[in-house]
């Protein structure tokens, strides 16, 4: 084992993994994160904690991870390269590992233009692929980027995101190959709505045997409303929402829109489980964490497997 992560153990055993996501609050109230954590406890094998997503300032990912860890959850610390240089990144990785966090999701991060501090200076000392390399170097070789040896290597299970729907499509599989070459252990994909396109991508992944070198978790996000579905389609970069799903949401009776969103999500998970090379699902119920237990149950993924130790 590379880490003491429950997620690594689940995936290594060949179980279908379930992860979810938890956005930290815009304030110092730990209770917000505890409430979200309590809802998810027992239903997921790992919880991503976002790192100032969409460049909106929130409680730090590391501290939120520590709070969730205290509740018995397995936090996955998201880290973006937008806000920290290599000195801060390596320092935070050591700190997170010392605090018992054993998963990291390496991301580039949304441009600061999206957030509430558009006049900020960005860093991007490295990109997400180089961040994967950095964590692997620290974990497996016990070294800093500067070449010096570190004492007490951070035992992190290394993740990255991949968006099979972003452009240009012809490099989406080579890009995954690059992340694998960099040393990634697991991949969480962007929200999947266009299943035929996703299946096409997975076929290309399998053709190169990449599915045997990394654990791929398919990402899903339930629609809460027609408005949200439209927003995802039109305003979120790199998102591919087929018209038929928008139509399905429109056709559902007013009081059953949210239920229809959940139905679509569960159908997607069931189809994902059939795809060779998909080892889990990543449920991103944005500010709707309370729905995750129901989704997990209805998708037939509850109870979660017991892990020794």
């Amino acid at each position: 084992m590379k880490s003491e992560s429950r997620l690594e153990q689940i995936l290594t055993k060949g179980e279908f993994a379930v992860t979810s996501e938890c956005g930290p609050p815009r304030g110092a109230d730990a209770e917000v994160i505890r409430k979200k954590g309590e809802v998810l406890k027992g239903f997921v094998d790992g919880v991503n904690v976002t790192d100032n997503q969409t460049s909106v300032v929130r409680m730090s990912s590391i501290s939120s991870c520590v709070i969730l860890k205290g509740l018995g959850l397995n936090p996955i610390m998201q880290m973006v390269t937008r806000d920290r240089n290599r000195i801060a990144i390596q320092s935070d990785i050591l700190g997170a590992a010392a605090l018992g966090i054993n998963n990291i999701l390496c991301l580039t991060g949304d441009h600061q233009k999206f957030g509430d501090h558009a006049s900020a200076k960005n860093v991007f000392d490295m990109d997400s692929i180089q961040l994967v390399q950095t964590v692997k170097l620290m974990r497996d070789e016990g070294k800093f980027l500067g070449g010096e040896e570190l004492k007490g290597s951070p035992k992190m299970f290394i993740g990255a995101a991949e968006n099979p729907f972003a452009d240009p499509f012809e490099i989406r599989v080579p890009r995954l190959a690059k992340k694998i070459a960099a040393g990634v252990d697991f991949i969480q994909t962007q929200c999947i709505y266009n299943l035929p396109k996703f299946e096409k991508w997975m076929k290309l992944v399998r053709d190169r045997g990449l599915h045997e070198r990394v654990h791929i978790l398919g990402g899903v996000t339930p629609f809460k409303s027609v408005g949200m579905a439209n927003y995802m389609k039109k305003s979120v970069p790199g998102m591919d929402v087929p018209d038929e799903l928008i139509e399905r949401m429109k056709a559902a009776p007013k009081e059953k829109k949210a239920e229809e969103g959940i139905n679509i999500c569960i159908e997607t998970i069931k189809r994902l489980r059939e795809i060779e090379g998909i080892h889990g699902v990543h449920i991103m119920a944005i500010e709707w964490e309370e729905m995750v237990p129901e989704i997990v149950k209805r998708a037939g993924l509850f109870p979660r497997p017991h892990i020794e130790g």
Binding site: R82, R86, T108, G109, D110, H111, K113, F114, N122, F124, D125, M126, D127, S128, I129, Q130, Q133, T134, L145, A161, E162, N163, A166, D167, P168, E170, I171, P174, A177, K178, A181, A182, Q190, P237, G238
Partner: protein
């Protein structure tokens, strides 16, 4: 070339509100080409200031000069005979020119009339865009001749990020995704396999991160 854009008239005039005479100096190099600070723009600025000050009932004496360039001492020297007669000097050069003039004339107050934007090209008449960040360690041989540092909004060396949609950057539909351009070029050149080589974490010490930069050519020194 270095591309610049003139500051708004209100900002320039507010800098010289209390002055009764001014020397405006244009530059014959990059800022002439991008129509921001050449002889013509000096004339336009002078006449705009004149009109404004006449309207306010506070006329101002303006002398106009345009040098071959302001980043070379020998041309700046041409101002020596009369620069001291002016309370204030407005330089219409890039930031380098403004500073070099101030360095050479320690008793003169030298003010900037332009905002220096970037190193770029003329895309078409009236449109300029950025191409180079002067990072000090050119990587164009690795990326099909398209710079990931200048053309990607995040300067990613292993892009594109997940925000690339229809060839456009996540920051705006008006911004082309630099990595889309790189991939198209590599593809056209039959070098798409290069895409899979991971470009290692960059040494930014040749960039501004390493402090103010200097080039010394011993073979050329006198």
């Amino acid at each position: 070339m270095i591309v610049a854009e003139r500051k708004p008239l209100e900002q320039i005039s507010s800098m010289i509100e209390s002055n009764s005479n001014v020397l405006i100096v244009g530059c014959g190099e990059c800022v002439t080409v991008c129509s921001a600070g050449g002889k013509k723009e000096v004339e336009i600025l002078a006449s705009a200031i004149n009109m404004l000050r006449s309207k306010e009932g506070k006329p101002i004496e303006i002398r106009q000069e345009t040098l071959e360039r302001q980043c070379d001492a020998e041309y700046l020297e041409q101002l020596r005979g009369f620069i001291g007669e002016y309370e204030v000097v407005i330089s219409m050069a890039c930031g380098a020119g403004v500073q070099f003039m101030a360095e050479k004339y320690k008793n003169s107050l030298v003010l900037p009339a332009l905002n220096t934007k970037f190193i770029g090209v003329t895309e078409e008449q009236g449109v300029w865009s950025e191409r180079c960040h002067a990072c000090g360690d050119c990587k164009l041989h690795l990326t099909g001749g398209v710079c990931p540092i200048a053309r990607c909004s995040k300067s990613l060396l292993n892009g594109p990020c997940g925000g690339s949609t229809n060839g456009k950057c996540e920051i705006s539909p008006d911004v082309v995704c630099g990595w889309q351009l790189i991939i198209e070029r590599l593809s056209d050149l039959g070098q798409l396999e290069k895409y899979e080589e991971i470009i290692p974490i960059n040494d930014w010490s040749t960039n501004r991160d390493g402090g103010p930069r200097k080039v010394v050519r011993e073979d050329l020194r006198l």
